[in-house]
């Protein structure tokens, strides 16, 4: 990949990461500030952040495992659908 292309990709990714990080920080601060009795541990303050982070890790792992176990090369468009 050429240098400008790499920069472009990093730029798009960094932009989204910046948005997510700001939103996560603000939401976590508000969540902690508005802390209320939680019906169970996952619903407690910052519990959703833990669920979200865990789910994202799960997405990566599932993508690897599913492709490893079930992926077949698509030879052409429309094949195997």
């Amino acid at each position: 990949m050429s240098e400008p292309a790499k920069k472009h990709r990093r730029g798009a990714l960094a932009g989204w990461l910046f948005v997510c990080a700001i939103a996560a920080g603000a939401a976590m601060a508000l969540d902690v500030a508005a802390a209320r009795p939680a019906p169970w541990i996952a619903a407690s303050p910052l519990g959703r952040a833990a669920i979200g982070a865990g789910a994202a890790i799960g997405v990566v792992l599932a993508a690897w495992l599913m492709r490893l176990a079930l992926a077949r090369r698509a030879m052409q468009r429309g094949e195997g659908a």
Partner: protein
Amino acid sequence: MTPITLNPGFVLILCALVRFVTPARFRLPLSILASGVALWLLLDRNFGAAGVVAQIGLPVVLLNLDALNQVFGIAFIGATMLIAIYSGARRHAFEDSALLLLAGGAVSALFVGDLISFVAAAELAGLASVWALFASPLPRSSEAGARLLIWCGLEGLLFLIGVAFHLSAGAANTAFTRLDAGTLGGGFIFAALLIRIGAPGAHVWLKDAVSHASSAGGAALAVFSPMLGVYALARLFPGDVLLTPIGEVMLALGALYMVAEDDLRRAAAYALTTQIGVCLLLIGLPSPVAQADVSAHAFTTIFATLLLLMALGMGVMRTGGARGSELAGLARQMPMSTAFMTLGALALAGLPGFGPFASLTLALEAQVQAEHQPAWLMISALCAVIAGGLALRIAVGAGRPSPQRSAMHEAPFQMLLGTGLAAFLCLAVGFAPSWLYALTPTTALNFNPFALDVLAPHVELLAAAGAVYLIAAALKLVPAERPLRLLDLDALYRGPAAAAGRRIGVVMIRLYGGWDMNWRQLWGRVGTAFSGWAESCDRPYGGGWMGLAQFVAIGAVLVIILLVRI
């Protein structure tokens, strides 16, 4: 209120037939007009049954309006309008009529008030969806249509058996109301509806059909067929305990395939499977909040799915496919379409401001009230999974540069307009969900999704998931996009089972051929023997002394007969 008691779906069915003989330039206005009339018939009427007639001794209720089918009806007719606008970008009278017939069948099924009419209308919608697949210009769509026809046939058979058992069990009437899945009739109808919604085992038809249909056809198939099943389950089996585990499996199965699938329309179909799983989790809860949220979540899912599939369909139209491995450069070539794709996926993830946010947070509230923590956890995780595994995957993938794509080549205006209107409706419901809540069967619903203690944790969930996924992508931990197809259950019946079927077919044909040949030989010998015997009867007298003996014997018999007669 209007005295007209016509089922709104009949207007769409009539329009589908009239479209064939309508000049091309009048087809879009005709579809919009028919949708408008159907919406008017739906809204300008009091709740209750009407149009009751008797057929073969059974009551047929052609129109029965209440809060549940009203919400689904508004969504279906709205979707029909959007699809009509979207499909106006190309001329394909055959497919357009099929899509309108599909919508008409589904809307008719929503508003009928008896089981027999429901089965008839639902099967009409099913056959129209097969027709839409046969009309698709994409490769191998005919084979997908044949497979869908088999699923439809199986579903119809189960429906008919279920209704027959229901009637034979001494049911007082065929009213389209609560059934027991534990009875024989109820069980068959339940099984038929599981096929319709794409429950585990039957989930393959949805991704197969959506990925082979045209841009407009994929959106229509995803919206009308499974959501009609959700409506019927909410009507016939509310609070059924079987629905909770089925919903959980749908949620998990759909999420697993969605994150790994390369074909984004199939990934969108799996995302829809997860959302239908959420609907089942709600139907399975016997609480008023959950039952109200079924229709609300179906409503918001319909428009979010439309938005996503219409946007992906624009990619299919311009580039011939919507694969994750071919997304690079799409943001430059089709910026609006890419934005709509990302928004559609974010809407399905429950991004605040979009319709599904209002219904998903209410679904979480319903699970909390029912103290059903596993379902709460699964729905929460689902939002994060769709945000990372679909929305950000599309956004980052389309933002990658590509040496092949440079010039901007956006989708036609009408496709953008239809998709934009779907996005607008998602936002309209998302920012002002109170009117949707007011339409649901539980009118006393008091829930504010924008309360800080609801909004902040949900944003936290999505943003944390997005941040972790993007960090993983930056570290190259996320698997690279490459052209692939994932094996699913259909690989079994299309691969080994199909090969075994072919081999068994060859053996059976050979066996039949051998049996047929032996049978023919046997009959040939029998025929030869019979003809020999018949010929011998034609020439009763042999030659020589035997002929004289026969002549004498017959003459003697005749003389005896004459003597006896005298």
